[in-house]
Every structure is written in C-alpha cells, then in structure tokens.
C-alpha cells in the first residue's frame, strides 16, 4: 500500500498542478495487457536469416587453429563471419564518451579470455541449421592459466587477462590503477576513535533476468540503409556503437526500438546489433540475432560482483569520525561499463552520512569471466549493502539504536560531502522518521524532532557537541582506553583483518584539505575546501 505524507516539505512544493500527481493510465497499457504491443521480435520478414555465434569453451586459451570448412558447406548455412570480416573489431563501449581504450573484440582473434567469448558467427536459414553447422567447426586451443578472483588478479605473477590493460586493472587519469577519494585525515581519526571496526563484504554476480532476452533484427532497406529492430535500452548509444564497429556513417543506420521486455541495465552493451548488421550487409538479407536463455544467463553480461572492505572509526557518543573503503569491481575480461561504475561508487562514499575523514581506493579489475555490465543501482548497490551492514555493526559496537545511529550521522543541508560538494535537498532523517513511525520503531523525542534542514551548516562550521543527543543506552564497550579493533565474526572462513591485500602502490599523497585552526577533528575541521 502506498500513502503520501504531503505535510512534510509542503512549504517547498507547489501542489496546484493539474496533470502532475495524477495516476494517469499509460498510453501503451492496452497493448501490454492484450499482448499486442510489438517488441523487436514481433516484426516478421520473408527470407529471415538467423545468426548464432560459436563461443569459447575455455576461460582463457590461445586459439591455435579454426577449421570451419565443413560448417560452411552444411545445409542452410549462408555465411560464416570471422573476426577478419568485422570492419572495426576492437571497441570499448564508452569510447563514445572518450572514456577508456578499445579493448574488446566483437569476435575473438588469437586468444579467448572468458568462457563464452564469441569466436565465429554462423548465418543460416534457421537457428537449428546454424547450431548444427556450429557442431562441425573444429577449433584447437592451447589453454592458458586463468584468474577469477579480483584480489588474486592483482598479485604479482597473476595471469594477464586483457592485453590493453596488462596489469589487470583499468587505468584512471592515465596514471593510476584505481580511483581515489581523499577527504580529511583518516589515519589521525582512527588513532582518536573509541572503536574501530573493519569488515569485508562480497556482492554476487547477478543475472538481469529480463523476460525478453537480448536481440535484434537487421533488415537491408531499399536505399542501402539498414533498419534495425532492437531491444536496446539506449537507442543512439547502440546505433553509434554499431556504426563504429561496422565503419558506417551513422545515418546509414535506422534504429527502431522502444518496447522492451525488461532491461535492468542488461540491454546497454549492444551485444547483438553490430554482428546482425554485418550479417545483413554480407548476405543482403534480414538477419536476426537473438540470445537463447542459456546465452542470456551465462554470456550476456551480468551485474559484476564487488568486494568491499570498510573500516570505520566511531566515538562512543555515536559519531563516525572516519571511514576508509577499499573496493574491487570485477569487470570480467573486458571493460564494458565497470570503469564508470568505479567513479560512481567513489562519488557515493561514504553514503548519506556526514563523516569528516573519508578515504577510498576503488579498483576496476579484469578477470577471466563474462564481462560485467550495468545493473539497477550500478556502482551503488554493493557499496550501499556494505555501508548499511557496517552501520548496523557500528551501532551494536557502541550500544546505540541502529536507526538513531544513522539519523545522528545523517547528512543535512549545508554539510560538506567527501567529494567536496555541499549537501542540499537532504531528506534522509525525514525518511527515517516516517518509516519508524509507520513500523512503530521507537525513536526518542530528540530524534523525532530532528530535521535535514537544521544543524547542517552549523555542523560544517564549528563543532557543536550540544546538538548531539546522548546515546540510547549506556555503551556496552568497557570504559577503558583500549581501542576495539576487531568485530566478532561468526564466519571464521573469512578474516580480512588478518590477511590484508597488498597495499596498492600509492603515489605521493596530495596535501590534505586545509584544517581550520580550532583543533577539533569532529564534524568541523576539514571543510576548508567547501564550495557553494
């Protein structure tokens, strides 16, 4: 059930609107509920050909030889497409935004770098004919050592996955193997903290699981153009990518999309359009390239798995004074979009909290698995999972109510964020208040009265301890000066504190933001670079 709290922030809204806020039925509803909306695969063409790709059975191998002669003679086969047929075989998706180097072939040439990497395309009169011909292709491989773990991939001597990035990490700013975030002085803050907690979090790779798998149909038009019916989530992104790979002027392609059977980020990578277009040009016939469910599950790019280490420094009165994050994004064998998710993650740390000392190193790591891509919450879902689990442990460690602990540290209007922009338009505290009321989660009066609109600027200016409510219950931590540096871990299998990964090669530290003179390293002393 959905309800509105129009009373909150009412003074910031004009509610005298006619169409905005109405539960208007969507213009395409009738088509969807009567199964008459046309998806890309509902377009019918005479003499339609079908493209299937032969995929690597190895996670990492050198291709010694390919013999497709029997496949080329098989019944129904119209054309074999090899790497040499692809006009611009090497591409990277974000090259359109001048981000990263071309690193991924449409069809593998000498080496395959993940299980399922496309090697050959077979165009035939039916999907079955293409698959039967595929069984006749003979490829001999020399298997190579593979690496699947992000931290193993960074160790000296690890197999090199991607020749464009031989050290298994994406290159940032032309010089670093990771993206940095530096705000305040975490080391000094950890030394002052009453409690220091560190833990490790692991996201799983996940399938987008759309009802409609990735696919497209490329149809030669009478004027030499190609019309492409596609399931893409980004029409011009896919058009421009396909034009680059096919070395075509963009106006030779006419992309039609728009009714998509579920995206969730899995239909950005333009995995089918370039080869479907190439096949249509090589055969002069309409060609469909449609992922099977097995291909979608295993070889369509998944949500990448991230491994995240968080270390927090907390005071017994509930303030988090330092947060340090080290995260590894598993990009798989090629970049796709993971390089960008790293930036998004760096900009999101330390979550919606005002913490005066923050440091993060985020890596985009290449491993011998299916390239990862965007998925709902790209760059943010995993770090939110890690941060919010960590917040819960922090609260337990100092004996505070976990929701009040979050509200105490929540960012407010006027606070300075770790990426050096002022927080505005905040509403975390209000969400906590409303959810707590709805769920009958008891909050003390001072927390029920808190506001995102008050106290932030003051907090950024000078330390105001009086603003801080007292902890909910007496701290469980013994009142000694010994710092608690471990957290009880029921799963003994993982012990990140005991086995820290090799420290990244750190370039000379830039000067920390100028600390103001009043000495208190609380919510106050590191906002010298604040901008309005």
């Amino acid at each position: 059930m959905l309800e509105f709290r129009k009373d909150i922030f009412a003074d910031e809204r004009d509610d005298n609107l006619l169409e905005i806020g109405q539960p208007t039925q969507r213009q395409d509803m009738l088509g969807h509920v009567t199964a008459t909306s046309r998806y890309y695969d509902d377009h019918r063409f005479a003499n339609l050909l079908h493209l299937k790709v032969l995929r690597s059975p190895h996670a990492h191998a050198r291709i010694r030889s390919i013999d497709d002669s029997a496949a080329a003679r098989a019944p129904g086969v119209k054309r074999i497409i090899r790497a040499a047929d692809v006009p611009v075989n090497l591409n990277t998706l974000l090259s359109l935004m001048q981000f990263g180097k071309d690193d991924e072939p449409s069809l593998a040439t000498d080496v395959v770098r993940y299980k399922g990497e496309p090697i050959l395309g077979i165009v035939a009169t039916s999907e079955r004919a293409a698959l039967e011909a595929m069984a006749l292709v003979r490829i001999s491989y020399d298997p190579l050592p593979a690496v699947f773990d992000v931290e193993e991939a960074l160790k000296p001597g690890a197999p090199s996955v991607n020749p464009t990035y031989p050290k298994n990490t994406f290159e940032y700013h032309g010089k670093y193997d990771h993206q940095k975030l530096r705000f305040g002085d975490v080391d000094a803050a950890f030394a002052q903290a009453d409690v220091v907690l560190e833990d490790r979090y692991q996201m799983s790779p996940i399938e987008h699981a759309p009802t409609e798998t990735n696919g497209s149909i490329a149809v030669p038009d009478t004027n030499g153009r190609i019309v492409v019916y596609t399931s893409t989530q980004a029409l011009f992104f896919s058009l421009d990518t396909a034009a680059k790979i096919n070395a075509l002027p963009s106006n030779q392609l006419h992309f039609i999309g728009g009714t998509v059977g579920g995206g969730f980020g899995g239909k950005v990578d333009t995995m089918t359009e370039p080869l479907a277009i190439l096949a249509a040009r090589l055969t002069g016939a309409p060609v469909r390239y449609r992922f099977s469910r097995h291909e979608e599950m295993q070889f369509g790019s998944p949500r990448g798995a991230e491994r995240i280490y968080i270390k927090d420094g907390i005071m017994r009165d509930g303030r988090i004074i330092a947060r340090q994050v080290r995260a590894y994004f598993d990009s798989g064998a090629y970049t796709r979009l993971s390089s960008y998710a790293v930036i998004k993650c760096a900009g999101h740390i330390p979550g919606p909290y005002t913490i005066p000392n923050v440091s993060a190193d985020i890596y985009c790591v290449f491993t011998n698995r299916t390239p990862a891509t965007a998925m709902r919450g790209f760059g943010v879902t995993a770090i939110d999972f890690a941060i919010e689990c960590q917040m819960d442990k922090d609260a337990v460690a100092i004996g505070m109510d976990p929701l009040e602990f979050r509200m105490l540290n929540a960012y407010r209007d006027g606070d300075m964020k770790a990426h050096r922009r002022e927080a505005k338009n905040c509403a975390l505290i209000e969400c906590a208040q409303v959810a707590a009321e709805k769920a009958q989660w008891p909050l003390r009066d001072e927390f029920r009265r808190m506001s995102s609109r008050q106290g932030g600027a003051a907090r950024a200016g000078v330390t105001d301890r009086s603003r801080m409510p007292a902890p909910a219950v007496p701290p469980r931590v013994p009142a000694s000066t010994t710092q608690r540096v471990t957290y009880e871990r029921p799963m003994p299998a993982v012990s990140p504190a005991a086995t820290p990964p090799p420290p990244p090669p750190t370039p000379p530290q830039p000067p920390a933001p100028a600390a103001s003179g009043h000495g208190a390293r609380r919510f106050s002393s590191v906002f010298g670079t604040r901008r309005r």
């Binding site: 539960p23 969507r26 790779p205 996940i206 399938e207 819960d392 338009n425 905040c426």
Partner: protein, 341 residues
C-alpha cells in the same frame, strides 16, 4: 529448534543520472493543425512508464489535457538524441528536456492565441482543459484547437519547441576524487521483518515498511509499481540470486529459470510504503528518479534483520540457507538480539 523473528533497517540515498559526458537528452514537441501535441524522443520505455511520465510533464507545461499529448519514441530517424534509459535518469533528464521544449511550444501557442484575441500574450492563461483565456476575464477565451488552426492556416506559425537537458561537465580529481557526481539525490529508509528458521537456515521476509523521498511523484501508480517491484528485486538479491553460486569459482552457473533461483509469488510479503516529496531544485516539477534506488536498501535491511533474529552476520550475498545455517552452527546456536518492536 525454532523460528526467530528479527527486524533490520537501512537508510540510503541515490544519485540521479550519469556523471559522464554531460548526460544529455533532447526532446521535440509540436502541435498538429487541430491542437493535439506529439512529443518526439529516442528514449526507451523499458516498461517502467517513461512515456507516461513524459506525457504528464509535457501536458502540465503546455497547459493542455494529458489526452491531447502523445509520446512517440525510440525511432532514430524521428527522435532526437537521448543518452539512454539507465542511471535513474529518464524522469529527470528527459523530463527536463521536454519541459524546455514544451515551454517553447507554449510560448508560440500563447502568441498565436493573443493575435486571435487581440490581447497581449502576457494577459493569457491556459485552463488545462484545452482553452486559453484572458486572466480575470474568462469569457474572453479561445480553444487550443482554434489557436492551432489559426497558427497553421492563417498566421503561419509553428507551434513547436526544442529542448535539451545537459549537466555541466564535471571532471574527477585524480588525487582527491573531487567531483559533482549528481545534481540531486533521492532518499529511502526501509525496515524489514524476517523470520529465520534455525533448523534449516531458511529466511522468510514477513513484511517491509518503507519511506521514500523522491522529489515529486509525477504519477503515483508508476511510483508504486517501481517501489514494490524494486523492493522485490532487492529481496531477491539478498536471499536468492547469483549466476555464480560459488563465486569466485565460476562453475555451476545456472542456464535457465529452473536453475536460477528467484522468489516466487508465495515469497512476496506485505509492503507498506510512504512517499515524501522534497522537490529537487533542478528536477521537472521537482521530480528525482526512483528506478534504481528502490532495490538498494532492502539488501542490507534483510541482512541486518537476520542478525537481529539469530545473531549472525552474513557478509557475502546471496544469504542462502546454507550460509545462515553454517553461521548459526559456528556461533553455537541462534542468539536472538534485542527486539526492536
């Protein structure tokens, strides 16, 4: 052996849009000769309702009924550029672009109406029902249809507009990470109630209670479908889904929906949702994006609820019964934590 109730919470914010390349989207709006409007886009409706949201924003800005606006999209020959439907950007980016276009078209419409009524355009207002009238003198009015006919056949005016929304380009500092990752943020707090069986490790999500701050709900039905569906996806990520069950060991990956675990209809739980609206200064009518953020808080809230129920922390997703059971055993049995109501 028992089933233990637990409650967990998470609070999050979410950046709207992509902070790369300016993240532009364009929109074109024009009227046909009888005063019906078409919005031309290349943006994709993934089923989330992007077309409906854009239609309502356009109608509100033009000052005409929503029935008089139709959104045509996803044809590269007719629709201008859009970066794509991802990063929770559709409502915000495309919405802003269509507002710019609709304002331009509205200005021409009001000029044409002023010429017909022989008044100053500044003295006119729309009633949102298809009429344009003189402020304070509603009997002096003209229909949008009459204005469009006059513009097309008598005055030679095009009632049309172009719009683009582009975020100022933001560099990322290599040393400090200083950047402008987003221009606005949505917010959420989710409280999850679970039941954990300490004999099987099975986790049932009993109830979700959430508050989402989304700037402005353009269409409350679309908001509800996103929030309900997103929470389901978050619960699925937390407890069920993975394409590599033994990650980083890549073996044993699923090939179809028989082998890929997801919650079924029987696993769906009641979800109480409260929506707050603090308008984003740069959002269309204050709207932010909600497409992605609604899944995120559910993952940690479920994990935290499991801790509250049985006293074990699972840091690796998904939280399968096997992991829960092993953790309970390692801890020497379930250790329920303090109840939070």
């Amino acid at each position: 052996m028992a089933k233990h109730h637990g409650r967990g919470v998470a609070t999050i914010n979410y950046p709207i849009g992509m902070n790369l390349g300016g993240d532009p989207s364009q929109a074109l709006v024009h009227s046909n000769p009888t005063g019906k409007f078409t919005v031309s886009l290349s943006s994709i409706d993934l089923g989330q309702g992007m077309k409906s949201v854009i239609r309502q924003i356009c109608a509100e800005t033009l000052g005409v009924p929503v029935a008089d606006v139709y959104v045509d999209t996803a044809d590269s020959d007719t629709g201008p550029h859009c970066t794509g439907s991802f990063a929770s950007r559709g409502t915000h980016r495309v919405g802003n672009a269509v507002m710019v276009a609709a304002r331009e078209a509205r200005a021409v419409m009001m000029e044409a109406a002023a010429e017909e009524l022989e008044v100053d355009p500044g003295d006119l207002e729309t009633d949102g029902r298809g009429n344009i009238r003189v402020k304070g003198a509603p009997h002096r009015s003209i229909t949008v249809r009459e204005v469009a006919m006059a513009a097309q056949f008598k005055q030679g005016k095009t009632i049309a507009g172009r719009g683009i929304f582009l975020v100022p380009l933001s560099d990322v500092d290599p040393e400090t990470g200083e950047m402008s990752p987003a221009t606005c943020y949505a917010h959420a707090c989710v409280i999850v109630d679970v039941e954990v069986d300490d004999e099987t490790g099975d986790v049932s999500v009993l109830k979700m209670t959430s508050a989402y701050e989304i700037g402005r709900a353009i269409n409350p039905k679309m908001v509800e479908q996103q929030l309900v569906g997103g929470a389901w996806m978050g619960m699925s990520h937390a407890l069920y889904e993975t394409v590599e069950p033994y990650y980083p060991d890549p073996r044993e990956g699923p090939r179809d929906f028989n082998e890929y675990l997801m919650p079924g209809p029987g696993d769906i739980c009641p979800h109480e949702i409260v929506v707050l609206e603090r308008p984003a200064p740069d959002g269309p009518f204050g709207a932010k994006g909600i497409g992605e953020m609604c899944a995120n808080p559910v993952l940690p809230a479920v994990a935290n609820a499991i801790f509250n129920a049985v006293g074990v922390r699972i840091n690796d997703l998904p939280i399968t019964p096997e992991k829960v059971l092993r953790a309970i055993k390692a801890r020497g049995g379930a250790v329920p934590q303090a109840r939070m109501r």
